[in-house]
């Protein structure tokens, strides 16, 4: 009766109850948003406790919904409070702003990510780029990164259509999907790295 799913579900629902109580007692808006991030973590916990492949696919979709709602709500919050342009400084740590270590680490991470390919490779290479941007600042034109992201998304969709309708060309579709998702994730994470300086040129 008390297998791992039931026990875990009980604990996670109890945590959700605590979070809802804290949410009711809270008055500040940004605190409420932070508590909702905690609720999203608990929701993914409920789904991950099922522990099958289908649950893994569900986790990915729910992560997408959660990050969309977080971005939308923080943007509405910034609009609502009327905070528009206040400069945000970049990370001011002397060890990593001067010296060659960030460049070497980023190049290593990007090379390893390209070798891995796929989603995991995209995340690793993207982390390399995030680290580089966070340490060095940036002066790169973003239109090129955006165009690359759009093209790679198109390649990804085309590979999925090939998987569905022309299954005999699966090798081509596999290569296309791996490259497409690599560049897609890489470009999106690179944009995250540039959030630290509050202006674009």
């Amino acid at each position: 009766m008390w297998d791992s799913f039931s026990l875990g579900l009980l604990l996670v629902f109890f945590s959700a109850l605590i979070t809802f109580i804290a949410l009711i007692r809270e008055k500040d808006d940004l605190h409420k948003l932070l508590l909702l991030l905690l609720l999203q973590i608990l929701l993914i916990g409920i789904i991950a406790l099922i522990g099958t492949d289908l649950a893994e696919a569900m986790v990915l979709a729910v992560l997408l919904v959660g990050i969309a709602e977080i971005i939308a709500l923080t943007q509405i919050f910034v609009n609502k409070e009327g905070i528009t342009c206040k400069r945000v400084r970049s990370l001011d740590i002397e060890v990593i702003t001067l010296g060659k270590a960030p460049v070497i680490l980023s190049v290593l991470l990007i090379c390893y990510g390209i070798v891995l390919s796929g989603l995991a490779g995209g995340i690793i290479a993207g982390l390399g780029i995030v680290f580089f941007f966070m340490c060095n600042g940036y002066r790169e034109p973003f239109a090129i990164i955006e165009i690359a992201a759009g093209l790679s998304f198109a390649i990804w969709i085309i590979s999925f259509l090939v998987f569905m309708f022309l299954p005999q060309y699966w090798l081509f579709a596999l290569m296309g999907a791996a490259t497409g998702i690599l560049f897609q994730v890489l470009a999106k994470l690179a944009l995250a790295g540039t959030m630290w300086e509050g202006y674009h040129e």
């Binding site: 791992s4 026990l7 875990g8 604990l11 996670v12 109890f14 945590s15 959700a16 605590i18 979070t19 109580i21 804290a22 940004l30 605190h31 948003l33 932070l34 508590l35 991030l37 905690l38 973590i41 608990l42 993914i44 916990g45 991950a48 406790l49 522990g51 649950a55 893994e56 986790v59 990915l60 992560l63 959660g66 990050i67 977080i70 971005i71 923080t74 919050f77 910034v78 409070e81 905070i83 206040k86 945000v88 989603l119 995991a120 995340i123 993207g126 994730v185 994470l189 995250a192 959030m195 630290w196």
Partner: protein, 79 residues
């Protein structure tokens, strides 16, 4: 019931109590306490061998922490 699962569930419970009622009641403390249930969830996913979900959740948690730190910095005060 392997040890990762038990440790992960305990971390989720303690971390959500800590993030729901942080002791100095400001944004940064709550954001740091939020990483504890995140780690608990990572351990739960590790015990069920959900590699893809684990990697994506790492990325999304880091991304949302970026977003919230930036909003807190823009807001320019703690409290």
């Amino acid at each position: 019931m392997n040890p990762e699962l038990i440790l992960g569930l305990i971390l989720i419970l303690l971390g959500s109590v800590g993030a729901a009622f942080p002791k100095p009641d400001d944004y940064v403390t709550r954001l740091i306490n939020l990483q504890v249930p995140g780690w608990g969830l990572l351990l739960v996913m590790l015990s069920f061998d959900e590699t893809l979900a684990l990697l994506s959740f790492c990325g999304v948690l880091a991304f949302s922490t970026f977003i919230f730190i930036r909003v807190i910095q823009k807001r320019g005060e703690t409290g």
